[in-house]
Amino acid sequence: MNFTLNSQRHIWTIAKRELIGFFASPVAYVFVVVFLLLSGFFTFMIGGFFERGQAGLEPFFVWHPWLYLFLVPAMGMRMWSEERRMGTIELLLTFPITPWQAIAGKFFAAWTVIGLALLLTFPLVITVNYLGSPDNGVITASYIGSFLMAGAYLAVASMTSAMTRNQVVSFIVSVVACLFLILAGWPPVTNLLSSWASPVVVDAIASFSVMAHFDAIQKGVLDTRDLLYFVSVIVFCLFTTSVIIRAHRAG
């Protein structure tokens, strides 16, 4: 029997099960609807989408780091804590699969739901194209950046979810961790830091932030370094998830 060939199929089987779970419970619907409502509210009411008089989606994307801060941990908090609480983790990890396949399957399923919510914002793209002539390259890059950023948050939520069987604890810890990812590069915080730390240190801390990388992508520049940043946050957090799960099993 060749077990490596089955790897992708196992990831898909787990992802499919997770998606069934998301859509059998209200989780997926609530996420999509709340995301659409909130992003609409911020874009039009606070972002001044029409008042700006510019054809672009900056007022939409600029809120994403903050929107995801609460929505993505809410999405990911049950990922592993629920398995532990229900005892199904014992079934999952005694199937002939590697923990990696389970981690990846669960991650991709939740990421897909987020991607779906993001796709459903397409009327905005149509609107700006109808009203003016925006730079669609910038819009595409921003969508990619936003999706990657959501993936980074989700990986953090996966990690904190593996730490505890309590979903509330998992949610709060991941919000705090994601908040760090935002604030480390947020100008008010970097200004504060620069008053006592050397610029090298401030830059080093700021480079951990999603803000700098997301801003760059939002300007329409898909730099490999920015992409690499998001991918490495995802890989690091998922790897940590596997370490936590292994440590928990070892007792």
């Binding site: 029997m1 077990f3 099960r17 069934i20 779970g21 419970s25 229900m86 014992e90 005694t94 007792g251």
Partner: protein, 318 residues
């Protein structure tokens, strides 16, 4: 099929399993007995690859669970304690998922699901969501999951827990039937279950194996095993006891009841039980006692279980 050598598990400073070794072949049903917290579940979790042992070796079929877990896990079907399942799925959906995780697809998957459904009597609830099911059905759903790929090895942690007597009977006969072609380990608190189903039993106490043998062998170790009990229509129990004590095979005779007179004679050695029975029978004929009942006690698993796992009988444990 299964070979476990010097398996230990420490949780911090607490020793959950302290050096367990045994072997199990195809066609054997092994009963795991022991008080709560004795290390039964921990041992099973290590064999199934859910938790890594602190030290020791586990072989399933020809594969090493620690170094080559995937093919080893593929051979095992596992019913964890409390029979967990994904409550947001339907029974059919859950079993289909389990079949896919076992590498089955298409026609083979359909066949496997319908076979497991039939064996566990789940036809009526196939399209029902698991969270709406009663405990017995949930339990059987998880049981069905464990046999979905017709595994060579079955590990069942309290498979009859929470079932009603009819369901218990069904599960027991299922285990017994499957035991002819598989290697099965199951844990239980119910001793009659061990007698009914197992070809061998292991008693675990505080992380160590304290007894290992066929149910008959274990019963022979009970205090009462081999004792001859006689009941009479009339007569003086004390006088009869004194006469019986005079026979060479008897070690001790107890009066269990004066009216009707019932006495129990214990043999000198377990092997001399039949000599004692014969002697008692001959003596009864000579003395013209009105014997209404004469039988040799088999010994009860309950007694042996209690005598080797109770904390205040440590000296029996060696």
């Amino acid at each position: 099929m299964i070979e476990v050598r010097n398996l230990t598990k420490h949780f911090g400073s607490k020793v959950a399993v302290g050096g367990v070794s045994f072997k199990l072949e195809k066609g054997e049903v092994l009963g795991f007995l022991g008080p709560n917290g004795a290390g039964k579940s921990t041992t099973m979790r290590m064999i199934t690859g859910f938790i890594p042992p602190t030290s020791g070796e586990i072989r399933v079929g020809e594969f090493d669970m620690l170094h080559n877990p995937l093919p080893a896990k593929a051979l095992i079907g596992y019913l964890p304690e409390n029979a967990p399942s994904y409550s947001d799925m339907t029974v059919g959906g859950f079993l289909g998922f389990a079949a896919e995780m076992r590498g089955l697809s298409g026609e083979a998957k359909k066949k496997a699901v319908s076979r497991a459904v039939e064996m566990c009597f789940l036809e009526n609830v196939l399209h029902q969501s698991i969270e709406t099911l009663s405990k017995g059905y949930r339990h059987r759903t998880c049981f069905a999951q464990s046999i979905i790929h017709d595994p060579a090895v079955l590990i069942l942690d309290e498979p009859t827990d929470g079932l009603d007597p009819n369901q218990k009977h069904e599960v027991r006969s299922l285990i017994k039937r499957m035991g002819e072609t598989k290697a099965i380990i199951f844990s239980t608190h119910i001793l009659e279950e061990v007698e009914a189903v197992c070809s061998r039993a292991i008693i675990i106490d505080r992380g160590n194996i304290v007894a290992n043998g066929t149910p008959t062998e274990l019963k022979r170790r009970a205090v009462d095993a081999g004792a001859v009990t006689l009941r009479f229509g009339s007569g003086n129990a004390k006088q009869i006891a004194a006469k019986l004590e005079g026979t060479p095979a008897a070690r001790k005779v107890m009066v269990l009841s004066e009216n009707p007179p019932v006495v129990r004679a214990f043999p000198k050695t377990p092997e001399s039980a039949s000599d004692l029975a014969r002697a008692a029978f001959e003596l009864a004929g000579k003395e013209a006692w009105t014997v209404e009942d004469l039988h040799v006690e088999e010994g009860r698993l309950d007694d042996i279980f209690r005598s080797i796992t109770l904390p205040d009988t440590k000296e029996v444990r060696q």
